[in-house]
Structures are given as C-alpha cells and as structure tokens.
C-alpha cells in the first residue's frame, strides 16, 4: 500500500485509485494508413519500465478524475503527480514517455 497525492483531493491510500498503464501513448493520427506492425506496436507493445514510469491513474473511489503519475516501479515511490494533458515535470524530461 502506498499513498498517491490526488491533484484534486490530496494524499489518499492507493486502494482508492485504479491504475491504467503507460501514459502519453499517442493515438495514431491516420489509423486507416497504419500497417499491421504499427497497429501491434500501438495496441500491444509496451516499455514495461523498470525504473521511473509515467502512468495514468483514476481516483475511482474519490473524485473519479484521471491524472498522470511518475512512479518508480522498483520501489513504488510516487515521485510526481500531474494533470492529464500536461507534460511530465521538467526534472523528468529525460524519461521517454
């Protein structure tokens, strides 16, 4: 169990939230032009980061709003929380979304 600082409600227990995987995945601009390999890459292939992961969470049993989290998957420590649509914090710019 760890704490997540919801940008709308403040720090709450992880059990109130639901994780939804890698953040900043880009929806294809021209889906009709995508090859099968590109579709597979968009739909299925993931970084599965061991280290600092940029991911999406939803405060399911709270405000029910979505936001992004930077968390270290080696320790579960939440490093940063930022809103949907925002870029990762500048100190995490080196991490490939």
């Amino acid at each position: 169990m760890f704490l997540i600082n919801c940008p709308y409600c403040g720090p709450r227990e992880e059990s109130e939230f639901h994780p939804a995987g890698e953040a900043h995945l880009k929806r294809p601009a021209n889906p009709e032009k995508l090859s099968d390999i590109e579709w597979a890459d968009y739909l299925f292939m993931r970084q599965n980061t061991k280290g600092i992961l940029l991911e999406r969470w939803v405060h399911r049993h709270g405000c029910r709003r979505w936001f992004n989290v930077a968390r270290d998957t080696r320790t579960n420590k939440v490093l940063h929380v930022y809103q949907m649509g925002d870029s990762p914090p500048t100190q995490l710019k080196h991490i490939k979304p």
Binding site: I37, D41, R46, N76
Partner: protein
C-alpha cells in the same frame, strides 16, 4: 560445508567436473549406504562452475522453465555446451513463489495441448529426474457460484473432454462429500452451485522441480551459473553473439530469455519491444494444521485458490495487484480481499494464522497466453508471458522451447504462441477462458 577429512575424505577431494560425471543415483540403497556414514558423503546435486568464455546456447534465467529448457536441450537434442545464467539463486524467483498448482483444464485447443503436455511430463518426472518432486494428483476443483458460472463451466468441461483431457462436473452434494469443510449453504452470499473437477491435476513441490531439473541438466554437462546477472546483449548485425554479465562477457550464437517478470528488461537490452506488463502477484501460507483439505479449490467469482501442502500449511493465492511493479511485494488490501474470500468459502479458516506472505513479479501478455518464440534477431529466443500460471507449464515450456532453440523453429505445440500473433491478430484469449483468472 563438509566436515573435511575428519570422517571421510572423499567429497572434498572431488573436483566440480568429477562430480558431474558421477551423479549419485538416489535410491533406498543409496539412503541406507549413506546412513552408515551419517549422511556426510552425499555429493552436491549440481556443480558451481565459473563461466566459460563461450557456449553453444545461453539460457538467461535459472527458474524451472530455464532449467527445464537446458535439460531438454541436452537430453532430447544432444546440445550440452550450455550455460544457465541466474542473477540470484536457482528457483528463487517465481518458481519458489507460486502456489504449486498443476492442471490442464484450459478451454482453447492451443492452451489445452500445451498444458496437457506439461501435465503428462509431470506424471513421469520424479522417475525421469530421479528426484522426488512430490507430485500429488489430488484433483483441482473449480467452483461455480451463479447460473452463468455453471453454464460456462459446462461449456469448458465439454471442450476440455473433447481435447481428451479428464474433467467432470460435481454437484453441490458431491463437493460437500469430498470437502466437508466447505460452506455450501444456499444462504451464503455467493452460494456454490457446482464445480468442475480435474482428477489428474494437483500440486508438486515447486523447489524440487527446479532442483530436479538443475541436477538433471548438470549431469548432462550444463553449467549452472548463479549470482550472474545479465547486464547487456551483444549483437552483430541481425544476430545475437553473446551477453555481458556481472561475471564478464560470455559468447553464444543462441540465447534464450526465460526470465518471467524481467523478460521485457532483457529483451530491451537487445532492442526488442514486447507486449508484456509486469505486476506483483501475492501468495501466502498459514500455520501448519492436520490434513483437512484433500484437493485444490479455485474460485473465480470470490477469487481465491487454496490447497494444503504436505507440511500442512494452507497455501493461498488470488489475483495480481493492478499496477506495474518490480518490487516483489504488493498491497495489503489485495491480501484482505483474498482472505475475505477464503473465509467466505471456509468459515473454519477464520481463526487460522498466516505465517508467511510474499510477492512475485509476473509478466502478463495482452491475451494472457505465453510467448514462446523466435524474434526478429537471429539466435535470440523469448520464453515469457506466462503471467500468473507458469509453474504448471514448466516441463512442457522447457520441452517445446528446447525444440525451438535447437531447430530454430517452433514445435507444433508452441507454434501458436509466437510473437507474430500480436501482428496477425491470432490471439489465444485465455483471460476469461482459463478456469480462474490465472
């Protein structure tokens, strides 16, 4: 470790190579003979060699699947110049962290064939390896708690039987006869309406499976190198040529990745992206009690699975923690949910105390089926994505992966489990199809 020279000088004088060539056969006679020497002359079960600069095949990952792969490469394909590299100790990852359930009651033909092959290999494994893996075919029961559960269960049992695998339906009364401690009251929140039973399914000693394969592989000349972490992959053009490790560079034209939760990390070293995500899966055991629970029970709806080990502990497991992690631990609310389910099914266990709880990192693919496959890099093979249900597949996984590496083409058993299926769309969707979220 040995009492060198005091009583019997023999074991200390043996070099590593000599040990491998003179593997002691375990038998009642060997036991009696060694009893006369106060059990101080047992050989080590496998050597602990320093890595050679070059091998024909390197297996990265010394869990059950990796050791089985090395064993079958040596035994079935005559390739013995093999290193198994393990970053910790063999069998210390998911092999030693699972709930030891073995079954083959899968819905889809591809999965049924793979898991049934494994079950058949398990049936002869203690004899074959001359190592008691304590395989106990005590039966696995999958409970149904609603009418739709029952319909789904019947469909599965019929599909499984059509694949020639034993499976049958039990009524609530039959369940109660087999397992008197289970709560079959119609008043309960999730009443038990029936179950499927695979009698040939059961449990085995997970450590012994790793140790047995390690000893078997070692006796064929395979080098098992522990405390050796792979830190990089060496490529030349489109071919793999070796690995960088904490014990130096080791070269090989063929490398098989069998690293469960760390499959993506190792594949990324070779520049390959995989459709895998790693999650913690928790399990736990209770204090030991007298025999009370004669089979394995799994419930998808209330979500817990439980069996009683030969030591008497109740071995418990359930679902994953939902977030990506490599921490080998999980959150308490997942434990709480699973124990709630346990007490719902078995009120008698409410006063049982837990003694150990742990997590393992499982790599889950989008269709919850494994990847046993060649890759775009020549000589680079992946065996992963077993998710939460890999232990039961240990022999079949190693057997078919050995074929894939030796022949550079998949066996018909693992041909459907390629990496290409995520491009072609020929997925093997076992998320809901396995008898429990596995």
């Amino acid at each position: 470790m040995y009492l060198c020279g005091l009583l019997e000088p023999v074991p200390c004088g043996l070099s590593d190579t000599m040990l491998s060539k003179s593997m002691q056969k375990y038998s009642i006679y060997a036991l009696l003979r060694n009893a006369l020497n106060f059990h101080e002359n047992w050989h080590r079960a496998w050597r602990s060699p320093a890595p050679k600069p070059e091998y024909d095949v390197i297996i990265v990952g010394g869990g059950g699947h990796g050791l089985a792969t090395a064993y079958y490469l040596a035994k079935e394909h005559g390739i013995t110049n093999i290193a198994v590299l393990e970053k910790g100790w063999i069998g210390g990852g998911n092999t030693g962290r699972n709930t030891t359930i073995i079954r083959s009651n899968y819905l889809w033909d591809e999965s049924a064939a793979m898991y049934e092959k494994s079950l058949q290999l398990f049936e002869g494994l203690s004899q074959e390896l001359n190592f008691n893996i304590m395989f106990s075919q005590r039966g696995v029961m999958n409970l149904a708690h609603s009418l739709s559960d029952m319909r789904e269960l019947k469909r599965r049992v019929n599909a499984i039987r059509l694949n020639g695998i034993d499976s049958e339906i039990l009524t609530t009364i039959q369940i109660k006869e087999l397992l008197p401690i289970i709560n079959t009251s119609p008043q309960s929140r999730y009443p038990i309406l029936g179950a499927s039973l695979q009698k040939r399914a059961g449990i085995a000693r997970h450590d012994a499976v790793a140790w047995g394969y390690a000893r078997g592989a070692d006796s064929h000349g395979v080098d098992i190198i522990q405390n050796c972490e792979v830190t990089g992959m060496l490529r030349k053009g489109g071919c793999i040529t070796g690995v960088e490790t904490t014990k130096g560079i080791i070269q090989a034209p063929k490398i098989g990745i069998v690293a469960a939760g760390h499959t993506s990390v190792l594949a990324a070293m070779a520049g390959i992206r995989l459709p895998l995500n790693s999650y913690p899966l928790q399990a736990m055991v209770s204090e030991p009690i007298k025999p009370i629970h004669p089979c394995v029970v799994m419930s998808n709806a209330v979500h817990v699975y439980v069996s009683q080990s030969d030591k008497g502990e109740m071995v418990l497991g359930a679902g994953i923690d939902g977030y990506h992690s490599y921490t080998q631990r999980g959150s308490f609310h997942v434990v709480e949910g699973q124990l709630g389910a346990l007490c719902e099914l078995f009120p008698i266990f409410s006063r049982l105390r837990l003694v150990r709880q742990w997590g393992g990192i499982v790599d889950i693919s989008p269709d919850a089926s494994p990847i046993l496959s060649k890759t775009p890099i020549k000589g680079f093979y992946i065996n992963g994505g077993w998710g939460t249900g890999g232990f039961k597949a240990t022999p079949g996984s190693g057997w078919s992966f050995a074929h894939t590496i030796a022949r550079d083409e998949p066996h018909e058993l693992n041909a459907p489990f390629t990496l290409d299926r995520f491009v072609s769309g020929a997925l093997i969707d076992e998320h809901g199809a396995a008898a429990v979220a596995h």
